[in-house]
């Protein structure tokens, strides 16, 4: 009679993140752990090899051998991808987030990024004012501005008929993270979104829900109505309001950016990323943005 394996009884040591330390130091009771999530940032599921010649024990052998990195304190660099609880086990498809690029919502074709013109001078510069992919960072309600459009849904490459996504997989709330030094989140009509918190790395986090000016249901089920070729869920239409620092000063451009040419105009630029994450399903997309200034 062999002994039972008791190695599963383990205690994991947690590391406070920068945000955790800050809240703890504040001493105002905001340090309160209310929930947990599980992550799998190191895992590459494409290493899963069903039908391995040596048997099912080998299907995920490479995954299980994945070395796991130590925890560290920067909260924006961890838990990028969370595990998800769904009510059923028979889902073959999961919803994704995709850029929907059509008239007025495309990226700049040269940089494959959205260009945020940080002041009116840049917005109205010849060649830039009408360039596809330019988000107006000062006059965010301008009809000439590009809108960043992200569609959510199940894209089964035609294996599922185009229809409205309903039930568990419909994402109704999103988390949007962006560098607060460069800009703030705005809707397509120019109204500012309310920031939820800004961490010490200047990453601002916004939560936007269906019903706000930014999130809406995709109701157009025509082929041209969305990039999602399958079940269509919700859509984000967002713009970026350039910060006063970028609008009125070149300091950050000098320190963090470079120079380039946009439509024959020499501009200063800073490259950054806007991250959109579905709060329910945890799926995320990183949207490249380039802040430009004449």
């Amino acid at each position: 009679m062999a002994f039972l394996d008791n190695s599963g009884d383990i205690i994991l040591d947690a590391v406070l993140t920068d945000a955790g330390r800050r809240r703890l130091a504040r001493g105002d009771g905001t340090f309160k752990i209310a929930k947990f999530a599980l992550g799998d940032d190191e895992i590459n599921y494409r290493l899963y090899t069903p039908g391995h010649a040596s048997g099912s024990a080998y299907y995920d052998l490479e995954i299980l051998q994945t070395p796991v990195l130590e925890a560290f304190t920067n909260q924006t660099s961890q838990m990028h991808h969370r595990l998800v609880t769904l009510s059923r086990n028979d889902f073959l498809y999961l919803p994704i987030l995709e850029l929907f690029e059509t008239t007025g919502t495309t990226r700049d074709s040269t940089t494959n990024a959205f260009l945020v013109a940080v002041n009116a001078t840049t917005e109205t510069t010849s060649g830039i004012s009408t360039l596809a992919g330019v988000v107006y960072g000062e006059n965010t309600d301008s009809t000439n501005s590009t809108t960043i459009r992200v569609d959510q849904g199940v894209d089964a490459n035609g294996n599922l008929a185009v229809a409205q996504l309903t039930g568990d997989l419909l994402e109704t709330q999103y988390q949007v993270q962006m560098d607060n030094r460069f800009g703030t989140l705005a809707s397509a009509n120019g109204s500012a979104a309310r920031v939820s918190f800004v961490d010490e790395d200047n990453m601002a986090t916004y939560f936007v829900s269906q019903g706000s000016p930014i999130v809406s249901l995709i109701t157009d089920l025509t082929s041209a109505g969305s990039s999602i070729n399958g079940r269509r869920g919700t859509r984000l239409d967002l713009r970026i309001k350039a910060s006063l620092n970028l609008n009125g000063s070149d300091t950050l451009f000098t320190r963090l950016g470079g120079t380039s040419t946009v439509a024959t105009n020499s501009v200063k630029h800073i490259d950054s990323v806007v991250k959109v994450t579905g709060v329910t399903t945890g799926y995320s997309i990183d949207i490249p943005v380039r802040y430009i200034k004449i």
């Binding site: 040591d13 955790g20 947990f36 995920d60 796991v68 909260q75 595990l83 945890g282």
Partner: protein, 378 residues
């Protein structure tokens, strides 16, 4: 309802308190001898830091100008105003009295009249008794003692053979311990708990000590991390100390002084007194204590939870479309599964406050349940 968070219920967290102990051995050669050796005069060793005010001396484990050096402890000496030595002291008399008073007021407090209490030999303040009026003070750095010195773990050996200088360690040593500290400490100090330090001999007791017994030779303040050593450990019985008269009072530098043992404080600076103690230190060890307050969060993962992933590689780039789950291999009937590498603890507004990692990926599927115990130390 799809979700990537799970709320912690009130029963999913518990607080614990753990005492961690480390053994701190300090060999005498580090304190005196390793750096400098015979070629360097006492007090000039690179790991000894002296100050222009001359009130104490700091001992490091490495030349103190190096950023690698750690502060081990400070040494100073003091005499009470009422000490028989105070009137004959000619060197730094006020500083030595000030040092004694400062240590006494912090460690022993004040009596009902507002006067500073003297260090009591046996800790029984109410009963009066013998007071320690001529003392060495060894103030340990917090890097060594952490939250406190573990009671009953302190041992210091000092060499008592006469004429000792740099070189081989003497076989005649006093062993000073707080042997009863684990169950016989005092709580009548404003600086926390303290125990009485007792001296025995490393060799035949009668050969070194004046009688075959333990002598109370000081106090050890556990939380404050201060050892108060009576000057009597270096004097023979004829000079009011504990050493056997046949051994005589220990010779301190400067050589040839008219008085010996701790009494050289009358003519020596505190730096010289500190040098003398260091030069006689054979060994020092104790266990420190770190009080660890922890909260353990029980992250209970039920069979139906966290079986899918939002990892981009979870979905394929194949003809099945960008939304197809890779590990299902096209079969609706296959159970989903995922691999856990990280546990994130969040605030109510979804800010990541703490992170824990597993040592290897844990497979999660609908056939298993896990309880991950995540400990957060404060």
């Amino acid at each position: 309802m799809a979700s990537s968070f799970k709320s912690l219920a009130s029963g999913d967290a518990t607080s614990t308190r753990t005492l961690l102990h480390e053994s701190i051995p300090v060999t005498g050669s580090i304190v005196s001898g390793t750096y400098g050796g015979d070629a360097t005069a006492l007090g000039s060793e690179p790991h000894i830091k002296t100050y222009s005010h001359g009130m104490f001396q700091s001992v490091y484990d490495y030349p103190h100008l190096s950023s690698s050096a750690n502060h081990i402890f400070d040494i100073t000496a003091g005499i009470a105003d009422s000490s028989a030595l105070s009137s004959s002291t000619t060197s730094q008399v006020s500083k030595k009295i000030n040092i004694y008073n400062q240590m006494a007021q912090v460690l022993m407090g004040y009596d009902e009249t507002g006067s500073v209490r003297l260090f009591d030999e046996d800790g029984d303040i109410i009963a009066g008794g013998t007071k320690l009026k001529e003392c060495y003070f060894v103030n340990f750095s917090r890097i060594l003692t952490k939250d406190e010195i573990k009671k009953g773990s302190f041992e210091m050996q000092v060499m008592t053979a006469d004429g000792f200088a740099h070189g081989p360690a003497s076989g005649e040593r006093l062993i000073i311990t707080d042997f009863s500290g684990s169950d016989g400490y005092f709580v009548n100090s404003p600086a926390g708990e303290y125990g009485v330090l007792y001296a025995t001999s490393s060799t035949d007791v009668d050969a070194v000590l004046s009688a075959n017994r333990r002598f109370a030779v000081g106090l050890l303040f556990y939380q404050a991390g201060v050892a108060v050593l009576s000057g009597s450990i270096f004097s023979d019985a004829a000079d009011g100390g504990i050493l056997n008269n046949s051994k005589g009072t220990v010779t301190f530098s400067p050589a040839g002084a008219t008085v010996t043992g701790f009494n050289t404080i009358t003519a020596s600076t505190n730096d010289v007194m500190a040098d003398n103690l260091r030069n006689r230190m054979y060994n020092l060890q104790f266990n420190n204590t770190t009080e660890l307050n922890s909260t353990i969060y029980f992250c209970r993962v039920n069979n139906s939870e966290f079986n899918y992933s939002a990892n981009p590689t979870y979905l394929s780039t194949s003809s099945g479309g960008p939304s197809e789950i890779v590990i299902k291999d096209g079969s609706v009937g296959s159970d989903p599964h995922s691999y856990i590498t990280t546990v994130g603890l969040y605030s109510a507004d979804n800010e990541l406050l703490a992170v824990a990692k597993v040592s290897e990926p844990l497979k999660k599927d609908p056939s298993n349940e896990l309880t991950l115990r995540v400990r957060l130390d404060y």
